[in-house]
Assembly symmetry: C2
């Protein structure tokens, strides 16, 4: 083996407020060896960083909570380095929840074999959770129609950087508006990601800006943030508008909010809105078509894939803290080897 130890990043304590470096520690452990039949040893290559990592620390969501003292959980592209399972051989590329460590031993059923594809990082961005989340959230949940106006929060993020491009590729004549946290990001998403307009929520009141930029109202809102921005969007939604509830990143990093957005359920009734939560694994039957569409759009240049790659396992905590502060452009990941 290349390394004598298995470096691990552990969660020291469950953060009560803002996540900081003090909540993690880097420890050296023994490299785990597959002992049971069906066990597979993998070496982590690229760790995915997502706002959801933060949510996992707060309690059970669609997965168990990450508890203090445990290796921090996280999905990764990994390479099989030893296998007790006939389905996996050394050298196979897989996606798995390795956690934030060099090596993991996992049962074969917890691994998802990845196709050979260059660059392999695309398996974690446009062909991974981010791409499928953007695709299903926009097209299956948001159901935009030709000529409609689509609003996206966290517009420069891993998912938001794809939603705008999928919208333009899949639906004729849509107007796509992004919300991001700096003027520089607002410029970048218009220059690089096909956004027609952008709002810097840190300097502009969102409701007022929406009223000016999109007097025609919003038909589809792809919500990554919740909170005040969701509230502003609710008040600007059109009749029969749809809100794809993808995440609430504004609420992961701190104390739980003491109340929800005003206008619920009043505006939902009077405007006959639909709010629907989803995660990308809710659409298994359509996964193949989604990947095929995404590959087509990447090949034709309609999707410009943005990846934000940080080097070194030891930098994973800082990379997540930065992501929660909105530092990333497109899909952030950590290159371990």
């Amino acid at each position: 083996m290349a390394d004598a130890v298995n470096r691990q990043i552990q969660l020291v304590e469950t953060p009560k407020g803002k996540l900081g470096p003090e909540h993690f520690k880097l420890a050296d452990a023994t490299i785990p060896v597959p002992s049971k039949d069906g066990d597979v040893q993998v070496r982590t290559r690229y760790i995915s960083l997502d706002a959801a990592n933060r949510a996992w620390m707060q309690g059970a969501t669609y997965r168990d909570a990450v508890e203090a003292g445990q290796v921090m959980a996280g999905g990764a592209i990994a390479e099989v380095t030893a296998s007790n399972d006939a389905g996996f051989k050394v050298g196979d590329r897989v996606f798995a929840d390795t956690g934030w460590q060099d090596y993991a031993v996992l049962p074969a059923k917890a691994l998802q074999k990845l196709p050979a594809l260059e660059p392999e990082t695309h398996l974690m961005s446009v062909y991974g959770v981010a791409g499928l989340t953007a695709y299903f959230g926009l097209l299956n949940v948001g159901q935009p129609k030709a000529g409609e106006t689509i609003l996206i929060s966290a517009a420069a993020g891993s998912v938001g950087s794809l939603v705008s491009q999928i919208a333009k590729a899949a639906v004729p004549d849509v107007t796509v508006i992004g919300i991001a946290g700096s003027d520089e990001k607002c410029q970048w998403i218009q220059d690089e990601l096909g956004y027609d307009a952008a709002i810097n929520y840190k300097t502009q009141p969102v409701y007022k800006a929406l009223k000016e930029i999109a007097p025609q109202g919003i038909d589809v809102y792809f919500d990554n943030v919740g909170g005040d921005i969701l509230e502003a969007a609710l008040f600007r939604m059109n009749l029969f508008g749809r809100i794809a509830c993808c995440g609430a990143v504004s609420q992961y990093d701190g104390a739980p909010p003491s109340s929800g957005p005003r206008g619920i359920p009043g505006l939902i009734v009077t405007k006959r809105l639909t709010l629907r939560g989803f995660i990308m694994s809710d659409f298994p039957d359509e996964r193949e078509k989604a990947l095929s569409d995404l590959q087509g759009w990447v090949a034709s240049g309609k999707i410009n894939v943005k990846e934000d790659i940080i080097e070194g396992l030891e930098n994973t905590p800082a990379a997540l803290i930065g992501l929660l502060a909105g530092d990333n452009r497109g899909k952030r990941m950590v290159k371990v080897i």
Copy 2:
């Protein structure tokens, strides 16, 4: 004509808080005469009372606001007493927004001809807005499946009194739980309306009661009230649960709430809930089937229609104020003649 005057109940001022008798006045006006081609004079027979009446006073909803000085708006069963339209003849029964008055002149296109049916009051309860709202909200929006658990607020009201019975008639093996505002109503809905269990929200903490009564969780919530009860339901919803947002009666009669329920959008995402607002006119293509289903269930005794009929136009304000306080059992209406 039977009366020399057209009695009208006018809204004196837009209520800022709780609705009271001081917000209305009874006035005598001249009986209006149809002058233009296509105008029809109708005499009001039964005025529908609904929580929505209160919402109309607060601003534009799916209809214009009712302003101070105007005749209070309201739908009614009426009889044609004079007609300048070939489509309507004296004696026809129609449904129309006559407002709270003895006579109205309306363009023919604002009238909906009613079938001859006994008792005619059923046209305003089970075959009217209440019945169609209950039907579409439960079956089209809530989409309950066999064996699921359904929760209904304002369970003794015009809509709630039908939702439970439609659920039992249309979907096998459902468990139906009602929320109402007195022990007596809780008993009544279980004795008369097929509810399997009931919660008195004025004496029981709803979240805790739901946990005890329905440890299996809630699959469909038919929300007539919003506010704290919606919040409690959100925290007890099952994965992929559906909330039919029908109204927010807890929020119509008073100052607008300063915040919405906690858990939005967090719980929507993690549980992949769908919240959808609707009104019964959103489903024109399915109206005929709905009415046919409802007639079948009434004929077979699966639906026991509850009507709460108050006598006298002059009692309409008190009847609405009482409805907002939860006095009614089933569909409340005022018999004018």
